[in-house]
């Protein structure tokens, strides 16, 4: 379901009316992705064979996500790039995962801590900024 952007004929719509399309309209009202695990730092990668043209029913936002995920990209980056709320992006990504079009790589958690070499690389990288 897509909402048309309001045209000038809708003079009752003004700034005070707030956004006409609520964020979750893009997701058909779904507020939880079908799959959990989309941490802000999770890395999304589109499959090599993921061809949006052969996928009926995808929204423009789905296609844009697929384009951006041609290279590994974090969930937070996708939300900022699309200027969409993180929660909305998670639902849309869930759709793409369900279709097998993208893979989500969760960041290491729990006992994981970056090792000494990584911390050294961060310090020298920061110094070189």
């Amino acid at each position: 379901m897509r909402a048309e952007s309001p045209g000038p004929q809708h003079e009752w719509l003004d700034g005070a009316a707030g956004p006409v399309v609520r964020p979750y309209t893009l997701t058909g009202g779904r507020v939880r992705p079908p799959i959990e695990g989309f941490d802000l730092m999770a890395v999304v990668l589109a499959g090599l064979a993921a061809d949006p043209a052969g996928q009926p029913g995808l929204q423009p936002e789905h296609r844009r996500l697929l384009e951006l995920a041609r290279r590994p990209v974090a969930v937070a980056d996708l939300a900022a790039d699309l200027d969409l709320a993180v929660g909305v992006v998670r639902v849309l990504l869930g759709d793409l995962v369900a279709r097998g079009l993208v893979a989500v790589h969760r960041p290491p958690t729990g006992a994981y801590l970056p090792d000494d070499n990584i911390l050294k690389a961060v310090v020298s990288g920061l110094r070189a900024l």
């Binding site: 379901m1 609520r22 964020p23 979750y24 309209t25 058909g28 009202g29 779904r30 507020v31 939880r32 079908p34 941490d39 802000l40 730092m41 890395v43 990668l45 589109a46 499959g47 090599l48 064979a49 993921a50 061809d51 290279r71 590994p72 974090a74 937070a76 980056d77 939300a79 900022a80 200027d83 969409l84 709320a85 993180v86 929660g87 909305v88 097998g100 893979a103 790589h105 960041p107 290491p108 958690t109 994981y112 801590l113 970056p114 000494d116 990584i118 911390l119 050294k120 690389a121 961060v122 310090v123 990288g125 920061l126 110094r127 900024l129």
Partner: protein, 200 residues
């Protein structure tokens, strides 16, 4: 079109490692300024559902009944190299957005708490939060032009900081100064696990 199955490991490029650092502190302490000084900053919106009851995954009619709030966070990325990136997240300053912190803090390398000596108490909640969760943090005393200068010891006493927690003066507008704050955090993280990062 390539017929390689995308889930074959050989077809997956090496994934960059992304480290997360939180920039916390009271409202107006310079969080946005610091993130902007260090990286290209972009707003990140979160549209959070505030009520947990009655959430159906496919129920479009329920949307109007759900209470959501949009919170914009500052979000920046520093590329160390092709394989390593540091993400900076400015934490939402208002108390009513504390529920967002847990997700932000999950898996974070550590945090910078910015303190404004004119309103030192504003950073107490941030200090408490990271202390309670055992998340390594440093305190950056943002030197505002019109603020009285206090000695670091006076600020440390006022914050009742653990002696191991680094306390540094900084100018959140200045990239070099901001870099030093982040470096002190990473060195602190390394020290905490007994693997000091050699200076230089």
């Amino acid at each position: 079109m390539d017929s390689v199955r995308f889930d074959r490991p050989a077809a997956t490029p090496r994934l960059p490692l992304a480290l997360k650092i939180l920039i916390a502190g009271g409202f107006g302490a310079g969080k946005t300024t610091l993130v902007s000084a260090l990286s290209e900053v972009r707003p990140l919106q979160t549209e959070e559902v505030l009520t947990g009851a009655g959430i159906g995954t496919d129920d479009i009619y329920g949307v109007e009944e759900k209470s959501t709030t949009t919170v914009a966070m500052d979000f920046g990325r520093i590329t160390i190299n092709d394989d390593l990136q540091v993400y900076l997240f400015g934490t939402p300053g208002q108390d009513r957005f504390w529920f967002l912190w847990d997700e932000l803090a999950f898996g974070a390398l550590g945090a910078v708490v910015l303190a404004d000596t004119r309103r030192l108490a504003d950073c107490f909640p941030s200090v408490d939060y990271f202390e309670q969760r055992g998340i390594p943090f440093v305190v950056g005393v943002n030197c505002f032009d019109d603020a009285r200068r206090f000695s670091l010891e006076a600020v440390r006493d006022a914050l009742d900081l653990d002696p191991a927690v680094p306390l540094v003066l900084c100018d959140a507008r200045d990239r070099q100064s901001g870099k030093l704050v982040l470096i002190s955090l990473v060195e602190h993280v390394a020290r905490q696990r007994g693997e000091p990062v050699p200076v230089g």
